[in-house]
Amino acid sequence: MGEILSILGKEDFYFAMLRTATPVLLTTLGAMTASRAGVSNIALEGTMLFAAFFGVIVSAFSQSALLGFLAAVGIGLFISLLLSYFIVELHSNGILSGIALNTLASGGTIFLLFLITGEKGASTSLHSLKLPALNIPLIENIPFVGKILSGQHILTYLSLLLVFAIATLFKKSRLGMEIIAVGENPEAAESLGISVKRVKRTALLISGALTGMAGAFLSMGYVGLFSAGMTAGRGYIALATQAIAGGNAYLAFLASLLFGFCQSMANYLQNTGVPLQFIQLIPYLSIVVAYCAYCRAKLKR
């Protein structure tokens, strides 16, 4: 207990919390956009993995971090386009198509990695680039808070901006209204002249782009390499945090912070003799408990 309290007193802990929350936040926003259009996008896991992979490959060969990032977002868009084609045009079950794309991602990235590097585990032999971290003037000078908020990764800041962007999308924009309308009642939306197909496709593309960024964060953020299965279920976690957020982008931020909290707490506990496997399962367990608690609270209301 004392150990946990001392961890909670460290500014590094909160810094790590924000950092580990980033990919989940981006993906949660993506899952939310798709979900509001009535699609539960289980392919996020695979999309993120593909994005992480292509970010590393493209940045290694072009020696440009920006190009790597764009490739990650691009592949996110592409996978989502593919998914939307099957869901919207071919009336596939979204969950089954999602599972197919996840299968493709987990095997396909290893296949390609071996083709390019001759290894199946990680891209250690490639010299891939990272996206930068930013120090924010003024804020960095504030005691305690400055150490937490400044010096974060550029995508962490971007993800915070995107929280506002997605919130505004649903509150203010025409597209946001259309997405909500299609998600809640496709027939009614269609009768109002909204193209359900177009709206669903657009929502999926937005979710793909956001998830692409999350993938880029994983492989081009702090580690700077791709390793097989590195997403480790973050795409699935986003489905749970998205459900907890219930369509509200700000709550999505809080739910992702909850994940960040558990994950970085787990990382800190590693030094205290708690078995590794328990540390690894903490984030998943906390999210599933939080999700069930949320569902129970909603039921009682």
């Binding site: 987990s106 290893i110 496997q277």
Partner: protein
């Protein structure tokens, strides 16, 4: 075989063709010896008796997970907890195979029994969360899979690890805790027949019992199931417990049949493979062994290919993904099917119009409901919904398809009636 089934079979073969075609294309793109790779992929499994028999060994766990997921999907539950059930039961099997000392037939029997119980308990968790909290079973099961995976990993590495093994492995299993090998020199063990037996039992459960009927109806028409007084909670819970039990059995069988130590440092993908098996079998337990054998054949071929040529066996993921995508794409080729149906119904109209009594569809479909009692009347409706939900198919087994032929024929003609107004429009 009705024309609808012919169409579905055609569609399945085309989906298979596309999947294999794209995979071949990739082989040609990446390989220096594409023909060698392809011939090992497709013919390798028939290269020797050992390879051929390993198809059956590899199909065994796939049958278990395929059955588990078919049952879940059939009842309309998208729980993926099969993964955790299989993994934890495998861990339990390892523990009991190492620590328990019992004589031969008793040892595996006790292990199988306890593994089934364990699988059932874990399988019930997402169902309970759904019943009590209305938590989505897909979301909870995906999270729980990770929780149980790490718990299992912890159990083995903390209590049963062999420190001298060098890599992650448990101590050796007792000699009494094995499933008998059926053909000497191969890996084909008793578990395969256990899996087959289970497929038969599940077919009976699903199509011959009252619970099976309730399960199918809950899956195909939940609101109607509720109306006729079927307890959805009972179906949700029992289905997932049963699915968990099968998965648990699969985990135990796999460990005792194929391994002497526990070395699953990563969760095997059997549960995810179960998804494609359920899809290929249209959630029909009787077809599960065929789909599993098919997938196992591709797997064995891919393994041989990756050992003997320069193409890696992860290619299987591509084949699997493409198969799922195309087989579940309901509207895939639908334009083509629609035109064909229109043509057929026009032809049918021409021949049938003079003598109305020869047109069973319009006349017989409705009145059935007035006579029979409510529950019975829904039987054809349910099967129709199933055949609509079903996507394409592996009807490699003609006899099984024949069995459902009658109902399918009926839904066919109903469809034909539906398309009647269309032709006029198209010609105009």
């Amino acid at each position: 075989m009705s024309s609808k089934q012919q169409f579905q079979l055609f569609r399945f073969i085309l989906a298979l063709g596309i999947s294999l075609g794209i995979s071949m294309l990739i082989i040609f793109l990446v390989s220096k010896e594409p023909w060698t790779a392809i011939s090992y992929l497709l013919l390798g499994p028939f290269g020797s008796m050992r390879h051929f028999l390993s198809i059956f060994a590899q199909a065994t766990p796939l049958i278990f997970t395929g059955l588990a997921l078919s049952l879940c999907f059939k009842s309309g539950n998208f729980s993926m907890i099969t993964d955790a059930c299989l993994y934890i039961s495998a861990v339990l099997t390892a523990a009991l195979a190492i620590r328990l000392s019992l004589p031969f037939p008793l040892h595996p029997l006790v292990i199988l029994l306890l593994a089934v119980v364990m699988g059932g308990i874990i399988g019930s968790l997402p169902a309970l969360a759904k019943l009590y909290f209305k938590a989505n079973e897909l979301v909870t099961s995906l999270m729980l899979n990770y929780v149980f995976f790490y718990l299992g990993l912890f159990t083995i590495s903390k209590y049963f690890a062999d420190r001298e093994a060098g890599t992650f492995a448990s101590l050796k299993y007792a000699k009494t805790a094995v499933l008998p090998i059926l053909v000497k020199g191969s890996k084909l063990h008793l578990g395969f027949f256990l899996a087959l037996l289970l497929a038969v039992l599940f077919s009976i459960l699903l199509y011959k019992t009252r619970f099976g009927y309730e399960l199918r109806l809950s899956g195909s028409n939940p609101s109607f199931a509720k109306m006729v007084g079927i307890s959805s909670s009972k179906v949700i819970l029992l289905t997932q417990v049963l699915a968990g039990m099968v998965a648990g059995l699969g985990g135990a069988v796999e460990q005792m049949g194929m391994y002497q130590r526990f070395n699953w440092q990563e969760s095997p993908s059997y549960a995810w493979d179960g998804v494609i098996i359920a899809i290929l079998s249209r959630n029909n337990p009787a077809l599960v062994p065929f789909s599993a054998l098919f997938l196992a054949y591709i797997r064995v071929g891919a393994d041989i290919m990756s050992r003997k040529s320069d193409v890696q066996n992860e290619l299987v993921a591509l084949i699997q993904a493409l198969l799922i995508l195309f087989v579940t794409a309901e509207a895939f080729l639908s334009g083509w099917e629609h035109r064909r149906e229109v043509k057929e119904s026009l032809a049918a109209a021409d021949t049938a119009l003079p003598a109305t009594e020869h047109r069973p569809a319009t006349a017989s479909a409705e009145p059935v409901a007035t006579k029979a009692d409510l529950v019975e009347a829904t039987e054809p409706a349910a099967t129709k919904a199933e055949s609509a939900e079903a996507n394409g198919l592996v009807a490699a087994t003609a006899d099984l398809v024949e069995a459902s032929g009658a109902t399918a024929e009926k839904s066919d003609s109903v469809d034909a009636v539906k398309t009647f107004p269309e032709p006029g429009k198209e010609e105009a």
